[in-house]
Symmetry: C2
Subunit: 153 residues, 2 copies
């Protein structure tokens, strides 16, 4: 049970936050990212390419290339990332998997779960990458264990 998002989605979120923490206009390479983030190098490449295909990031090839946000961090929500990677099936599907739920034959949890799901959705939509980047820069917050941080290139 990967908690709520797929692992790929977790990686994407963490990557986006990392990129958003840097001054706008700077490019971030896969190498730098995976040095800070404990995401497998090549997998990271794939994920970032995917995000740029989806319009969340932009990329530049070449020596001074890398990835950057396609829009200002204030204008990208957490939901945008999740939606780009995992889709938004959790909006629709029955939490217990009953096929007719939401179809006039709602399951016993339908309403309760609907309320919670909506709260989760609002949480995702209200958090911008700017918020996240800002929060996670504060002292108590930290993206990685020190051990890993020290071992970066």
């Amino acid at each position: 049970m990967s908690i709520f998002f797929s692992r790929q989605c977790e990686y994407a979120i963490q990557s986006a936050i990392y990129i958003a923490q840097k001054p706008a206009g700077q490019w971030t390479t896969v190498k730098e990212l995976t040095g800070h983030l404990n995401v497998p190098y090549h997998f990271s490449g794939k994920i970032l390419q995917n995000l740029s295909r989806k319009g969340v990031l932009i990329s530049m090839k070449g020596t001074r290339g890398g990835f950057a946000l396609a829009k200002p961090a204030r204008d990208v929500t957490l939901f945008d990332i999740v939606d780009a990677v995992d889709g938004s099936a959790f909006h629709k599907a029955c939490v217990m998997g009953f096929p007719r739920c939401g179809d006039g034959h709602e399951c016993s949890l339908h309403d309760q779960w609907g309320i919670l799901r909506e709260k989760i959705y609002k949480m995702l939509v209200k958090k911008s990458l700017h918020d996240l980047a800002h929060d996670m820069n504060k002292p108590g917050y930290q993206i990685l264990p020190d051990a890993l941080k020290n071992s970066l290139k």
Copy 2:
């Protein structure tokens, strides 16, 4: 993104509800279950065996055998099922996958998600199989599409 529970867990929940709808003391065979529930026959067997190993169900071999609840339906919560199948990692793990979150280096969503997660947990703990079985017996509720229901043995 399998919404929230693994598919196996969804099957387990649906099966448990089905069994709980029958009068106490009756045995339910895999054949009957999969006739009503659209769960692959052999996979269903595995899942039910697993649930009985975990103490949620009991089983009896032989001609008139099958599976039944190990305890009264009022005493089995939805959380018991989920916990038996998927575990309860969602209690602990960071929703965005940050390794140090919950360790003094909380992520930006930690508190908000904690509140929602607790509500989800309460929802699971408060729903007994008896509640579920009762609710899903009401007219508007229905476990399966008619088409499937009609094609049962």
